[in-house]
Structure formats: C-alpha cells, structure tokens
C-alpha cells in the first residue's frame, strides 16, 4: 500500500503524467508537409484510437515548417516531403535520428474534364496554357525542376505557389490547366484532379523523413507516434493514400 501510494504521491507532487514516463502533459504537436495533410489526419485518428495521447497537426510547406522549428516552435514530431530540410535540422542538432517512412511520385494533374486537352509534360512549354508549379524553395517545386531538367523543357509557368495544396486547389477549380503535384494529391482529390503520367523513365523519388524533435517535452509519446507511423498500421494507411514504401 505504501509503495503504491508513494508512486501516486510522487506523480502528484512532480507534475508528471500518470504513465510515469517523464513526459509533460498535453497534446503531441506534429508538423507535417502540405502533401501529407489528408493522410496525417487518418494516421492521427488511427493512433488516437489505440493510444490515449492527443495529436495536433500543423501542415504547411516543408521549408516553412523547417524554419519555424529552427526558430524554436514547440513541435514534437516533424514529417517532411524532402530530406534536404531534415538534413538541415540534423546539422543543427534539432532532431534525433530521422527515418524515411514513405515515398511519393510526382505526376501531372489536370482538372476534371481536362478542357485544355493537356496530354503530356511537353504541354508545359505551351505559353497559352495556364500552368502552375510549387515555388522552387518548396520540396514539390524542387522535384518539379528536376523533372523539367530531365525532360529538357523550359516550362512556361504562370504561378509558383508557396505550398502544394494552394496549387492543387487552383487546378481543382479549373483556374489552372495543369500543374506538377504529388501522386498522392491526385488520389486525395476524389476525382477533382485527374493524373497524367510522366514519360517512362522520368521520375523523381520524393523521400519523406520523420523524426522526433530533440527538445520536445513529450519525447516518449512523440516516439510512440513515430513508431506507429513506421509500423504496420501506419504502413497500410500510407499505402491506401498512395504513398510508396521506403
């Protein structure tokens, strides 16, 4: 009796949570790349069903999230669309030991109906079409630049959106005729976007790393979420959303 109540007393006076792991209370804050917006919501729901930890998600362009973490944002987990941003954080000792949890392909997206009759990547050189890409500083924009270089086209882009979701929404409502986006975005659009394959041999493997932030005050809970994502349940949710295996 004394032993048990001693632990309770210790928990009460030290303010730690009752799981005794040394974590602070409160939700786990996950910074996720824009292209993960829908799938991370599914991961969140599935995780919260088996663990009593609360997950909060903030989705934005990976580079923007990276800067926020560098400036001290209180994130616990970071999941980006490109390893470059993560490498910067590793160099600054802000994250421990990232792992790649998913891969993604890029593809051409056109609005339902494809009224502009876009057929291939070559159409991206056509001036009269309204074409979009991500800003080059954002992973999606970087990948698109690689693709255009591979194919050897000078694209006639009309806008470079700050994140991929702004881009997909403009294609979905028909304001843009085509854009280079992630394959998973087309899948998540429920038919508003139609994908057109890139030429065979032209592909860029976008690698998605995930890591626990070094000075998170919920490291144990954060690690449990990362493990969940890397584990079989996380894998099957990612597969369904169209993300490839690492």
């Amino acid at each position: 009796m004394v032993g048990l109540s001693a632990t309770v007393l210790a928990a009460c006076t030290s303010g730690v949570s009752s799981d005794g792991t040394g974590d602070a209370g409160g939700p786990v804050l996950v910074f996720a790349a824009s292209s993960l917006t829908d799938v991370v919501a599914d991961l969140e729901a599935a995780f919260e069903a088996v663990d009593d930890v609360d997950i909060d998600v903030s989705a934005a362009g990976s580079s923007a999230l990276g800067v926020q973490i560098e400036e001290g944002a209180p994130a616990d987990v970071a999941a980006f669309a490109d390893t470059g941003v993560m490498a910067r954080l590793v160099d600054a000792a802000l994250v421990d030991d990232p792992s790649v949890f998913a891969t993604n392909d890029l593809t051409i997206a056109v609005p339902r109906g494809n009224t502009a009759g876009v057929a291939s990547i070559d159409d991206f050189a056509r001036d009269e079409l309204l074409l979009g890409g991500c800003a080059r500083q954002v992973p999606c924009g970087g990948y698109a630049t690689q693709i255009f270089d591979m194919v050897g086209i000078e694209p006639s882009l009309d806008t470079e959106e700050p994140d991929v979701r702004s881009l997909t929404s403009k294609v979905a409502i028909g304001e843009l005729d085509a854009a280079i986006v992630y394959a998973t975005d087309v899948l998540a659009s429920d038919g508003d976007l139609v994908g057109i394959d890139l030429p065979s041999g032209v592909s860029v493997a976008a690698e998605y790393p995930i890591a626990v932030i070094a000075d998170s005050d919920r490291p144990a809970a954060a690690q449990r979420f990362v493990d969940f994502v890397l584990g079989p349940e996380g894998r099957s949710i990612l597969d369904e959303a169209g993300f490839g295996a690492p």
């Binding site: 800003a135 500083q137 806008t159 470079e160 959106e161 700050p162 702004s166 304001e175």
Partner: protein, 267 residues
C-alpha cells in the same frame, strides 16, 4: 496647442503605442545583414518585385480614387433603397481575411468564375495569374479605406457652398469639380494615401487570386514570404526595403495635409 499641462497618463499610453510600432522595426534592424545588404537588394528578384509593387500599388490607388470617390459621393448624397446594405458590403474587404477576399475574387472573376468565365470566352482575357489580377486584388482590399474617408468628409459638408455655386450657374458636375472636391481635398489625399499603403502591403488576396511569379505577379510582400524559408537574409533585406519605401512616401506627404480641416467651414 491650448494649455500647457498635458496629462501624464495620456503620454504614457501613447509611448506604449509607439513601442508597438517601433519594436518590430528595431528587431528587423537588429537582424539585418548590413554587409550583404547591397548585393541582396540588387538581386533581380528584388528589383522585379520592387518595380511591380510600386506601379501596381499606384495603379490600385488611382483606381480607388477613380471609382471610390463617385461611390462615396453616391453613398453620402443620394438616398436609395438598400443604401446601408451597400455601405456594409463596401467595407467588407476591411473585415474579411485577405485570403478569403482573394478566394471570393477567384470564384467571381477567375477563369471559371461567375463573371470571369463569360469574360474569358468572349474577350479571351482573364485576371488570375496576370499583373491585372494583382491590380484588381489590391484595389479590392484598398478601396474601402478611400470610400470610408471620403464619405466621412462629404457628409460633414453642409451643402451651402454647393448651393451658392449652383445659384451662380454651375451645373451639378461643375459644382462637384470646382467646389466639393477642393473642399474635401485633405481627406481625399489622406484616403488615397491609406489606399496606396494598403495596396502596397497586400499579400493574401494577391497570392490567392493572382498567384506568384517573379516579374509578373510577385510583389514585394510575396517575395518576402517565399524567401522566408530558404533565404532568410533576402527576406529581411526585402522587408527593410518595404519599410524604407513606406516611410519615404508617408513622410513626403507633409503633416499639414493630414490634419487640415475641410475648408469652407467657419470662414
């Protein structure tokens, strides 16, 4: 100034307000990479954005005056059914988040928009992703400032000088041109400057409606935003540039233009 004693409380509160404006400026100056500033500002991204920002903001201010002054006149002088409703929706852009305004513009004037689609089909012109989209988005968010300022000035006139002008044979348009406008000139100037300032700093509606492309739609605020992640020094340099341009413009308009009461009264 009447009276020499000034309440200390007012001065203290005013200092707090000044701090609110000055501290971010000091923060900005503190992180500025002074040694690289010249090179950063000479970058063609910055030059393109500066030129674009300057002329689109001026064009927007001009459009605000051209269309906003008549609107202010109608709201203040003509009684019609639904006047309070019109007054309310004119001030809507001040209340809505700019991104929402941009989205609304997209749904109305985008290529697939309610008005934009017929426009595109008939004339072959659409606003989004063009520099005219920038001007339109800026005008949309800036016009309420001009309309509200000018309508206030017009409503404070008692109409007697206009009556005198009419009795001398001036047609209503001549009265407006030669009597009304000069009488509200200080407020009109203040409203135009406010509208320009709002247009110059506009971001959300612009990026949503006009997109972001260097040289065509990437104004200074957009350039800052896009640089923030990858090239922080550039972002700081451009921010400093915007602050400098704004201070130069606003200080160039001498303070007496701000505070002069409408002429014609009390003389």
């Amino acid at each position: 100034m009447i009276g020499r004693r000034r309440p200390l409380v007012l001065i203290a509160l005013a200092l707090v307000a000044v701090a609110l404006f000055v501290l971010p400026l000091i923060g900005l100056l503190g992180v500025t990479p002074w040694s690289r500033l010249g090179a950063l500002l000479a970058d063609e991204v910055v030059v393109d954005a500066l030129v674009l920002s300057l002329w689109t903001s001026l064009a927007s201010a001009g459009l605000c005056v051209l269309f906003g002054v008549p609107l202010a006149w109608v709201l203040s002088r003509v009684e019609f059914v639904g006047r309070s409703f019109v007054r309310a929706i004119v001030t809507l852009p001040m209340v809505l988040p700019p991104v929402v305004g941009g989205a609304a513009l997209l749904f109305a004037l985008g290529r697939r928009g309610v008005v934009g689609q017929p426009l595109d089909e008939v004339v072959g012109f659409s606003f989004p992703f063009s520099v005219w989209g920038v001007v339109l988005a800026n005008t949309f968010v800036a016009m309420p400032f001009l309309v509200v300022t000018v309508e206030g000035a017009l409503s404070s006139l008692d109409g007697r000088h206009e009556g005198a002008a009419a009795s001398l044979g001036a047609s209503p348009l001549t009265v407006f041109r030669r009597v009304t406008l000069p009488m509200i000139a200080p407020s009109l100037r203040a409203g135009a400057v406010l509208a320009w300032a709002r247009a110059f700093g506009e971001f959300g509606a612009t990026v949503t409606f006009a997109g972001n492309l260097q040289g065509r739609t990437q104004t200074l605020p957009l350039a800052v935003f896009v640089s923030l992640d990858s090239n922080r020094d550039a972002a700081i340099a451009i921010s400093l540039l915007m602050v400098a341009v704004s201070i130069v413009v606003l200080m160039a308009l001498r303070s007496r233009w701000w505070s002069r009461a409408p002429i014609g009264l009390g003389s």
